[in-house]
């Protein structure tokens, strides 16, 4: 992890891959860098924005303006706080690329995950057979597993809900099914931006490797790691307010 974003910027400015250098047009100072946005990920082939050559997973991300590739080294996947480490985790996500990624996160924590097949009936049978103790899902997929969660005799240790936005009021009904419900705010290309316990007004905490700024009320994120495509001053489109210690409250998730 880079403790100083400026050192990462200096590395990128000197790198053989010129994507950020071209976007920054000579700007060297971190705080003056223009924001990068998802649109630029869509417009630029992955081959022109790759900065590392590690063993990695390449995902197809389906954004409103078109699909694009997002590459993550397995080592970096393991560093993202996607879930809570438990003995028998299950991953059940609507997007198959995301499901594979979070399953690999479990492996990086030295746990064998159960990846849920798309069919909810089959996924439920498997969850029961494996006697899962934690679940990584998204707000839509978890509802498909609800009959299975209701049939359990004890709550999960943790339920991690991964998404680009959350409606806490809709999710409150999940409380009986897990001792801890975590909201994991993330985009496919950025990894985890913040984690919050489920509450009426969630307060997200950015992961250790993530720097969050507010630029004219928009939350802007920087990952302090040399990712396959680094995340430097990423304009999230999320309107929010910064709190102490890298925390933030979302006012509006934006229209992505």
């Amino acid at each position: 992890m880079h403790t100083n974003p400026q050192s990462l910027v200096d590395l990128l400015n000197a790198h053989s891959t010129s994507w950020y250098r071209d976007l920054w047009r000579g700007t060297q100072d971190f705080v003056s860098l223009p924001l990068v946005r998802r649109r630029q990920f869509i417009e630029t082939p992955l081959s022109r924005r790759r900065y590392v050559d590690d063993r990695s997973l390449v995902k197809i991300v389906h954004a409103g303006d078109g699909p694009f590739l997002s590459e993550w080294a397995f080592a970096h996947i393991g560093q993202e706080p996607w879930g809570v480490v438990s003995d028998r985790p299950m991953v059940y996500l609507t997007d198959p690329h995301s499901a594979i990624e979070k399953s690999m996160w479990c492996y990086e924590q030295n746990r064998v995950p159960l990846i849920g097949e798309k069919n909810a009936d089959i996924a439920s049978v498997a969850a029961t057979k494996y006697d899962i103790d934690s679940l990584i899902a998204d707000p839509a997929s978890v509802l498909r597993l609800l009959p299975c969660l209701k049939s359990r005799t004890k709550p999960l240790v943790a339920l991690s809900l991964v998404g680009e936005s959350f409606d806490p009021a809709d999710l409150a009904m999940l409380r009986p099914y897990a001792e801890e419900i975590r909201l994991v705010l993330a985009f496919s290309e950025t990894g985890v931006l913040g984690v919050a316990p489920l509450s009426d007004a969630p307060i997200f905490t950015a992961p250790d490797n993530t720097l969050v700024e507010s630029v004219d009320g928009e939350l802007v994120f920087t990952k302090l790691a040399m990712l396959a495509t680094p995340i430097i001053r990423y304009g999230s489109g999320i309107r929010g307010v910064l709190k102490d210690g890298g925390s933030f409250v979302v006012e509006n998730y934006g229209d992505r």
Binding site: P45, D53, V58, I60, A99, I100, Y107, E117, I122, Y130
Partner: protein, 371 residues
């Protein structure tokens, strides 16, 4: 030795889970949970594979590995192989069957895969949309999950001419049964993986019988004598690669391949004859059954026919019966017509379908029904 059937896997699955639970210092990445699909009309089966025994090696040497097949548990197992494999900077891209589009194919071109592992019918859909440079960049394509037909072979020769297509024989309950292919094998021919025992039992006069597999799937769990449900035969000629053991898989009992008394009905053969009868029908399904007559027990074949421009004419049905009976081989040397003359099969019956047949991923056209 009594043979294992799929129903016996409940105890085997429990043993594999116990092995995983008590793996001690072995890393989690050596284990993966697998599920079978529902093709056998049974509940899904869930068990654990220990990769050191079950690995397919389809990603060996791959720098940019493309995955395009079905179950997520299988895909995750392949991604795990890339994570733990022999190429330090290997990358893997999975394309879900539901997301194939021109825009996604442009992303695949950017990824520039050099090797892939796919379900044959699925990769045909994807390859048609890939540009020539991307297709030519795929040096090795491993295929598994279904037998290759003439249509598959023609497609790969035309669309992926620079690609070495390598068939891998994998069972969802066992893992890899064949090795990665030597480059000499005709389609649907395999060399057994060194650690896997292959036997063919209940053989008929043609040497065709049930494929029986013995293999270890975790350290303490060995499947011993599992009748896998496919029919196969040994190939007597030795392979140019020097391997003396080669078997040919003829298909899934009851799907690609139905034994009807002494007759053998193969979907591939019906497909070949259908191509000869393009002017008479567009698509077909076969129902095979055994019936008792005053001549004894004989086989009966009902051919369901669909023609988009309409059908149903008595004359056309008679033409179909005549042409199919003349051209369809039901043994190495005898046609359906020959078997009818010998009294081993009833004359072919034809029924017209008013709507196109529903299509599944495996495109199963043969069905054995009981009378």
């Amino acid at each position: 030795m009594s043979l294992l059937e799929r129903k016996d896997f409940t105890a085997i699955a429990a043993s594999t889970f116990a092995d995983m639970e008590h793996r001690g210092s072995k890393p989690a990445m050596g284990f993966s949970i697998r599920m079978t699909s529902g093709t056998s009309n049974n509940d899904p089966l869930m068990l654990v594979f220990e990769s050191v025994y079950t690995t397919q090696g389809v990603n060996r040497g791959a720098e940019r590995f493309l995955l395009h097949h079905g179950l997520l548990t299988l895909r995750l197992g392949n991604v795990l192989q890339v994570r733990t494999g022999d190429v330090p900077n290997a990358r893997v891209l999975m394309v879900d069957p539901t997301e194939v589009s021109p825009a996604v194919c442009a992303l695949v071109a950017d990824f520039a895969p050099d090797r892939g592992y796919a379900f044959p019918t699925l990769i045909m859909q994807l390859a048609r949309q890939l540009d020539e440079k991307t297709r030519r960049g795929i040096k090795v394509l491993s295929l598994g999950g279904e037998c290759l037909t003439d249509a598959h072979a023609r497609f790969f020769a035309e669309w992926l001419p620079d690609t070495r297509v390598s068939l891998v024989y994998v069972a969802s309950e066992i893992g890899a049964i064949s090795d990665g292919g030597c480059g000499y094998l005709p389609r649907n021919h395999y060399h057994p993986k060194k650690s896997v025992g292959v036997d063919i039992q209940n053989v008929d006069a043609n040497g065709v019988g049930d494929l029986v597999i013995s293999a270890r799937i975790t350290e303490h769990t060995k499947v011993d004598g599992y009748r896998i449900g496919d029919v196969a035969c040994w190939v007597s000629e030795s392979c140019p690669c020097g391997n003396l053991k080669t078997f040919e898989v003829l298909g899934r009992r009851g799907y690609d391949y139905i034994k009807l008394g002494q007759a053998v009905l193969r979907q591939e053969e019906f497909d070949r004859v259908a191509a000869l009868c393009k002017d008479l029908y567009d698509d077909y399904r076969v129902e095979a059954s055994v019936v008792s007559t005053n001549l004894g027990v004989v086989g009966s074949i009902l051919l369901h026919i669909y023609k988009e421009s309409g059908g149903g004419a008595e004359r056309a049905a008679a033409d179909i019966v005549a042409r199919v009976s003349e051209h369809l081989f039901v043994s190495p040397t005898k046609t359906l017509g020959d078997f009818v003359k010998l009294g081993l099969l009833l004359p072919l019956r034809v029924e017209w379908a008013s709507e196109p047949f529903p299509k599944g991923v495996k495109n199963v056209k043969l069905k054995q029904v009981s009378n």
